[in-house]
Symmetry: C2
Amino acid sequence: MAAGARFSNPTELVDAALAGDRLALARILTAVENRTPVAEAALRRLYPMAGKAHLVGITGPPGSGKSTLVAAMIGAVRAAGRPVAVVAVDPSSPITGGALLGDRVRMQAYTSDRDVFIRSMAARGHAGGLAPTSMAAAAVLDAVGFDLILVETVGTGQSEVEVAAAADTTVVLEAPEMGDEVQAIKAGLLEVADIVVVNKGDRPGAARTASQLRAMLVAVGRVGVRSTGHARPAPGAAGGAARPRPKEPEVMVTTATTGAGVPELLEALDRHRARGRDAGDSPARLARAEAQVWAILADRLRADLHEPANRAATDATMREVAAHRLDPFSAAERLLAELR
Amino acid sequence: MAAGARFSNPTELVDAALAGDRLALARILTAVENRTPVAEAALRRLYPMAGKAHLVGITGPPGSGKSTLVAAMIGAVRAAGRPVAVVAVDPSSPITGGALLGDRVRMQAYTSDRDVFIRSMAARGHAGGLAPTSMAAAAVLDAVGFDLILVETVGTGQSEVEVAAAADTTVVLEAPEMGDEVQAIKAGLLEVADIVVVNKGDRPGAARTASQLRAMLVAVGRVGVRSTGHARPAPGAAGGAARPRPKEPEVMVTTATTGAGVPELLEALDRHRARGRDAGDSPARLARAEAQVWAILADRLRADLHEPANRAATDATMREVAAHRLDPFSAAERLLAELR
């Protein structure tokens, strides 16, 4: 590729990205997505430069208008003169290739604006996990100077909700009259919300939906649906990223198609940011750190077990488990013994 | 709990489950979901007894009628005198608490039938990952004698699609006229389908949807949308569970509400099962084995790092990463050095 020839090594690539080269930035993000050695080299240098940006997760059921709201938020942020980056992990997002032509056109309006950077990420196929990959991508965007980073995910997947929940501020989107089917999805999402937005505010029932959501927030008490008393979650597990938020969330109404309510949403984001600002080791930031470190540890373990000296034994063990001649716990013990 | 008193240790619990005690079975599955020591003890014994069942994954976008189809499949399987177990990992499933009253009533019709066992699993909060947990649950159901196990997941989440894709046979459900928004979801799901079902066959456009899907299958060529050439997926990663299927899938039409097409679907499942039957180390079975073993290895690593001797150092390292004073790669290296 011609683009490849411009950067002969990761150092040059990172230098260029830090100097504002958007192509270099895009190449680093591709490396991060594919977990290549270039990604490791780039992150070792860029990660310590990050930590300043406000990371905002935006999630909600399909049909709640996430992408349209993100487009409206970009417009409002740019109108205020601030740069903004978007990571879209949403199969129905116009950015990732689906959906509504109108949104796509709206997004394209920003392709010539250097202070808007939009990156789509495939929702599947992340060997190391969607959350660690998205968080590493956000760290890169943070390091090169984006002070506001929006991460959009669909709100109907474990990994996807975790990504949004691991942000500094998590916005959960709902829309009026979405049918019974999304009630359960809604309840689950409310657990991780810092701000709840009823979008499509021009539709009948928006105000009613907002008051219903306030009632649901009281009802769920921000406590998980499951409370068996038997739970012993693994310490530091990635699942920890989705732990319920301590504070009562604000409920707001927007109409993304007209922009109504969007400035107020941005103000609410700033208020939330200001509140959590003191906590450099906030639960969300700790969860992000843990998710990334665990993913790297798991990668290392896998790589060790697939080194030439171990590979045949590892494959043979996995085949025995697949054939149910060996249970997975004994297999894990055998593999660990191999490494020692 | 009164139920707890009946089984003084895991051996008794497993004995009871193997003897057909459904309460004991339910308790083992709860332990599996929470990854307790009881789960480990039970799986060490039960896993080698499993491997005989036909594991069928059923996934599709919200609104495609998955739960109604599962209910209809249960009816048809029971009419043929065969036992069946269902694992439902779907926030919009009537089993897991959402959705349509009609379906819930239909499901309750089976609560007195000993040869139907329905288990709902929360879609979030699985520290060890949704796929390994679901696969372990399926192994337990397999070991206690269920020969057909249906795993229902919503088709709009990375983890959820992986669960369905790791089954022996993966059924992807679509419905006519679902709107543009699910087009991208559809394309992603077709990659993992062994059988594509157009449900709601009584709606106008069902035949057209079926022929469109056949055309999409040609278009996607069963090859991933992303093909960057840079990919270096970690060997044996859980993501491997969602690798594309080699064979061209059948496209069928059902009307779950009336049962039309459901017997034909069951025949297609049997045909697919017969084709893959020889392969005890089929890609799907290997992917399931790997997902479970990796989850256990990751658990062990986490447990080691949180032992009293290591805990303070681990927590301090994570806080440094959260504050961006340390990059996650250096943190991982430091933690591994601690363990040696």
